[in-house]
Subunit: 316 residues, 2 copies
């Protein structure tokens, strides 16, 4: 039985939309999947009743505390041992669940990832990544999107390998093309970090480095499966994408491609480089976003990504 | 007489579109303006003839060399003393023209700015800036967009003052709101440079610092007249904006706001912090872009920006 842990208290509209999303995802995940809900038992059962759903469809792990968006991540993680995030990670660490997904406090989710399952041996710094749709009907993985905002060149180089392993295992790309986000096509372009990273990535040999890519090229598709950048830059790209999606929506522009830029479509941000499958959803997550976050968690668990990353970095 | 120098050989489609743009701009600039064309005299006269235009409408300064997009900027600037860019800067330095605009090699234009008129006393590093339309019908100035890709905090702080002086003088904003591009609203968010820059900007007192702004907020308008960032980040934001404009165009989405994101609408990138008015156009400039670049040069000259910047930084 494959067990997917879900923070029922995570996100601006929890637990309502989380239960709605979990009910929808329940119809889509494999028969060998069991969804495990962490949260206020009474509230969860109340929501299930509201939808006329059988309580037996889920495992419920009762928790009594919630880590809020404004709590200090590390302090709250330590001082709220009975919070849905903390208990979820305890279950992940002890392998009572195979993956953990939450649209709750991002900071506490990242602290928990490091405190519980920890970084994979050989990984200097884990990253968070986002899958973004491209015009040609495909997508690319962008990393880091905000965990490390002062990336050294060797960290950017490792992101190439993290991304390559993910793209192959989870996105089924053969020999994934890894590009470095830069401000020019030529290898001598960029800031100190990207210039040095280019050299390391070109020499690495463990993944298929295809050179620099500029921000106006990433959305067309056809050039890269993975785009590597510093967390400050990646976070800015992601937020600007969100901004444009909002502009299109506000201007009443209807377009199938732009609709796919909506965060709801993907559901969550995968934490890469840790000893467990962890997906973090957007705080504003709708039930559709929660549903997709759960499906993404299932897909990542089934891909065997964690074992592949552990093997890959054993010899880095 | 106000003299606007134009590199007739600058840009992918020079001199044809430059002459077309200059002819269109000629109808719009003030009667006290004289457009001065630097370039191959025969080619310029040929283009004027093609349009049935009187040669007496322009001053023509004959040059015999061109700095190409693939030339090494500093080498080419020194080794091509008779190039349109070099001669244009010689005229700017000796005040035979009041401003200089080119859609030619950006690198050589930046080298020329430093070699000829040089940085304003007190300015640590000049910047290049772009004016971007906002949804509320206004615009903001983004800087740096690519000149300094490893900005120290004190440089970011100065960009606040450069931008504030520009927004007041050229964009007629009263008490311009200066924001720092960051990945969170709170002051403790960001990378090492933005965290330190926030402190400096908040304490500066010479401009109206309004705190952090995130990339999803810059296009709505209403929050900032100037957005300050590192050149790597600014260049990425600009290119991503270009990318989205292209997506909208390819998808056949027609929208008045998105049309205003087209680079042609603004015309050029102002070099800020040097002792002269210099505008650099996009290499792909159309005649409309050239026309707007020339109008922007006129507007900047008339604003008295350079004198204001020199006074402002005398006491920095």
């Amino acid at each position: 039985m494959l067990k997917i842990g879900i923070d029922a208290m995570g996100g601006d509209f929890a637990p309502q939309v989380v239960i709605e999303g979990a009910l929808a995802a329940r119809e889509q995940v494999g028969d060998d999947c069991r969804l495990v809900l962490f949260g206020d038992e009474q509230a969860i059962r109340h929501e299930l009743d509201r939808h006329g759903a059988s309580h037996a469809m889920f495992d419920i792990v009762p928790t009594t505390e919630v880590i809020g968006m404004n709590d200090h991540p590390a302090k709250a993680y330590n001082q709220k041992p009975n919070s849905s995030i903390r208990v979820g990670y305890d279950y992940l660490k002890t392998r009572q669940i195979d993956g953990f997904a939450s649209a709750g406090a991002t900071g506490a989710m990242l602290v928990g990832a490091m405190y519980s399952v920890g970084a994979i041996a050989g990984v200097i710094r884990p990253a968070i990544s986002a899958q973004i749709s491209t015009l040609d009907g495909s997508s690319f993985l962008l990393l880091d999107v905000g965990l490390n905002v002062d990336c050294k060149p060797d960290v950017l180089d490792q992101y190439g390998l993290l991304g390559s392993t993910y793209a192959e295992a989870v996105l089924n790309r053969k020999r994934p093309r890894i590009a470095l986000l830069n401000i020019g096509a030529e290898k001598e372009k960029g800031n100190l970090a990207t210039k040095a990273a280019y050299e390391l990535m070109a020499e690495n040999g463990k993944y298929n480095f295809v050179g620099n890519i500029e921000a106006n090229e990433i959305f067309s598709g056809g050039k890269a499966d993975v785009v590597v950048c510093d967390g400050f830059v990646g976070n800015t790209i992601l937020k600007q994408t969100e901004g444009f999606y909002e502009i299109a929506r506000q201007r009443g522009l209807s377009d199938a491609y732009i609709d796919r830029l909506n965060y709801e479509y993907v559901g969550g941000t995968a934490v890469l480089g840790i000893n467990g499958t962890v997906i973090i959803g957007h705080g504003r997550s709708s039930s559709l976003a929660i549903q997709n976050m759960i499906r993404q968690t299932e897909k990542t668990i089934r891909s065997g990504l964690i074992t592949k990353l552990q093997e890959t970095f054993r010899n880095f």
